[in-house]
């Protein structure tokens, strides 16, 4: 079983290989002739970066550098992943994605209140008499701050209300 950091190095190696491939072979194709006389091309810097990144990723992947100290008990540690509340984390991430997709359609006030309430419920909050007013007031006052004080447009209500 390969340690997680080496798996990550492998993934990054793949990414940098793809990046390097496009820097070395496909990028200069569309370069206008006047630019080709320059000593430096748009692809020059990426070429250097990709070579160095591939080398660094290989060092980690092949384990050329010995690992340092073992993580302490306080540190977050993926080997204890089973003990963690991974379900809650995934649901919250999904909720963030839903928020991103709904923000324009449902309007700021509705989606924010929903996000805060559902987020707290996922984490086990059941005191709705406190939760609901807190979420509504927070959404309202943040909308006011952003829209009126900072002057950035945020659609407050759902799109079909036409605001």
């Amino acid at each position: 079983m390969m340690a997680l950091d080496r798996w990550i190095a492998l993934v990054i190696l793949m990414i940098t290989l793809a990046y390097g491939y496009s820097a070395f072979f496909t990028m200069d194709g569309g370069l206008p002739p006047f630019m080709q006389r320059n000593p430096v091309w748009p692809s020059t810097f990426p070429k250097v970066l990709s070579v160095m990144a591939i080398l660094a990723a290989l060092v980690i992947l092949l384990g050329l550098e010995k690992p340092g100290t073992e993580p302490g008990a306080q540190d977050i540690n993926y080997r204890k992943l089973g003990d963690y509340k991974i379900g809650q984390a995934l649901v919250l991430l999904g909720l963030m994605v839903a928020y991103a997709l709904l923000l324009r359609q449902a309007g700021f006030l509705l989606s924010t209140t929903g996000f805060l309430v559902i987020g707290a419920m996922v984490l086990g909050e059941r005191r709705f008499l406190i939760l609901l007013p807190v979420a509504v007031i927070a959404a309202g006052s943040i909308w006011y701050l952003v829209q009126e004080v900072l002057g950035i447009f945020l659609r407050p209500w759902p799109f079909f209300l036409g605001v």
């Binding site: 340690a3 990550i8 810097f45 977050i76 923000l103 950035i152």
Partner: protein, 505 residues
């Protein structure tokens, strides 16, 4: 210098800017106290607010205030509940928490506040002396030297990453540089690596990246591991905040030494407040008399004063490379640099010549900020500490919401939120595998500057010859290589020798 300070004070003492310092310090203390939100996340969240202010001095003053406040708040939660919100206050909890357990929480907070104040103020004085000197040297630099200097800065960050992490820190820096090449570069006006996606035309948003790298993983950890968040709040009542004259005399030399040492460590790129605080703690323990040495870790006032003075002085010291060279040495100053660029201010040696009011206003705001933390926040701490009692079921959704808001306001684009979540997941996984994330952000922010200076030098000299024709460039680049190679070579030698000894047995 005094003239400059007067400019700074007159800028900083305007009503708006005073409010900025006070507000920044209060917000910083408030949020910095919450476990899981360090100065980097808080500053990232505050950037959209700061940018919409428009005035660069005011914005920078606000952000600097938030920064000090966050460090102060972090030490408060270290002392009261043994939950350091920030890595640089971990050393504070070694002696601060035992003191709180003995019912001396008030005294511990006072010592911490005074040490922070002195550390920050001495740091600001040193900054005022050193920054103009360094800037006048840096005025002689050309793009070739700038390029080399940034390479030195980036490799120093990797070199200070510690044993077993040099390659990881380097890879993260390179990944940050690679991410900076996505989008249209300033010199070429050609879209690169956008994969045909329109939203990537202008590159990745830096606030989004900062949020995804720092705020989101921390919030995710709070979700994953409930024991990381505090439920219940401070155990004992905070009372009797006074310290005696004997105690003051005991900690005064510690504060003096650690302020200077912390500042010097803070100036080095890559070695920030965290290293300064641990080193300060270790040094003071080693030079303390035998009977006091045993007290370290059980509630020694010296053990509390040392990391506090050191981390604040280092935080101030990290402004030196930022303001004079425009090169951030830490994640926090990288975020500040991003904010400055967004405000159309380019930090560097010209800053002191072209816009002295910004430079000096920041220094003046450091004095004022430290003073405010001492005289305003200290009496308020018992009340502010109530924020520690906010249940995590409320806290976490709000943290997540603020990261979303920060990314949205920065770009006004819902796609940015999806990028935020995507990068946030990647960052959490990277953190699990002990990959440092600050180098990635520093690389990302320096990326376009690095490439611009590199390209300009290449064009001036018609090729790579600038490296050999400019001795200072060559020297700096050699230094950069040595910084990375020497520590790992020595570690290898030490290991080889240790293995040899083991074989001999």
């Amino acid at each position: 210098m005094l003239e400059g300070l007067m400019i700074g004070l007159s800028t900083a003492f305007s009503l708006t800017n005073l409010l900025m310092v006070i507000g920044g310090c209060l917000i910083g203390t408030f949020i910095g106290m919450l476990p899981g939100l360090g100065p980097m996340s808080i500053i990232a969240i505050m950037i959209p607010v700061a940018i919409s202010i428009g005035d660069p001095s005011a914005a920078l003053i606000l952000l600097a205030g938030v920064y000090y406040g966050a460090i102060f708040g972090g030490s408060t939660s270290s002392i009261l509940i043994n939950a350091p919100g920030v890595a640089s206050t971990v050393a504070t909890s070694f002696d601060g928490y035992p003191l709180a357990r003995q019912g001396k929480a008030g005294k511990a907070l006072t010592v911490a506040a005074i040490s922070s104040f002195c550390g920050g103020t001495i740091g600001a004085i040193l900054l005022m002396i050193f920054a103009p000197m360094l800037a006048s040297v840096a005025l002689l630099f050309h793009s070739a030297e700038y390029f080399a200097l940034m390479v030195v800065g980036l490799s120093a960050i990797a070199a200070f990453a510690g044993t077993g992490n040099v390659a990881k820190a380097m890879l993260m820096t390179l990944l940050g540089l690679i991410m900076a090449t996505v989008g249209e570069g300033a010199l070429f006006n050609l879209p690169r690596f956008t994969m045909g996606i329109m939203d990537l035309q202008s590159g990745f948003g830096f606030i989004t990246l900062a949020m995804a790298m720092f705020a989101l993983p921390e919030a995710m950890y709070l979700v994953l591991d409930p024991s990381r968040s505090s439920d219940g709040g401070p155990g004992g009542k905070i009372k009797d905040m006074r310290i005696t004259r004997v105690e003051a005399r005991q900690i005064a030399p510690v504060i003096g030494r650690q302020s200077v040492q912390g500042f010097l460590i803070g100036v080095l790129p890559g070695a920030g407040a965290t290293i300064a605080s641990f080193l300060g703690y270790a040094v003071e323990r080693n030079i303390a008399p035998k009977e006091e040495q045993d007290e370290f870790g059980k509630g020694s006032l010296k053990g509390l004063a040392a990391p506090e003075a050191a981390n604040n002085a280092a935080a101030t010291g990290s402004f030196v490379p930022l303001l004079t060279l425009g090169i951030p040495g830490s994640g926090t100053t990288a975020i500040l640099l991003g904010a400055l660029i967004a405000l159309n201010v380019s930090p560097g040696p010209r800053l002191m010549v072209d816009e002295p009011q910004i430079f000096w206003a920041v220094i003046a705001s450091m004095y004022i900020g430290n003073l405010i933390l001492l005289i305003l926040n200290l009496p308020l701490i018992p009340y502010i500490a109530k924020v520690l009692a906010v249940p995590r079921t409320f806290l976490i959704p709000f943290i997540l919401f603020f990261t979303l808001m920060g990314a949205y306001i920065g770009q006004n684009n819902a796609t940015e939120l999806l990028i935020l979540v995507g990068f946030g997941i990647c960052a959490t996984i990277l953190r699990f595998a002990d990959y440092p994330l600050a180098p990635l952000l520093i690389g990302f922010i320096l990326g376009s500057m690095l490439e611009d200076n590199f390209s300009r030098a290449m064009q001036l000299y018609g090729g790579i010859s600038f490296v050999l024709e400019r001795p200072m460039t060559l020297g700096l680049l050699v230094l950069a290589v040595l910084l990375v190679v020497v520590p790992s070579y020595r570690a290898r030698r030490a290991r080889a020798r240790a293995e040899g000894v083991a074989d001999g047995d």
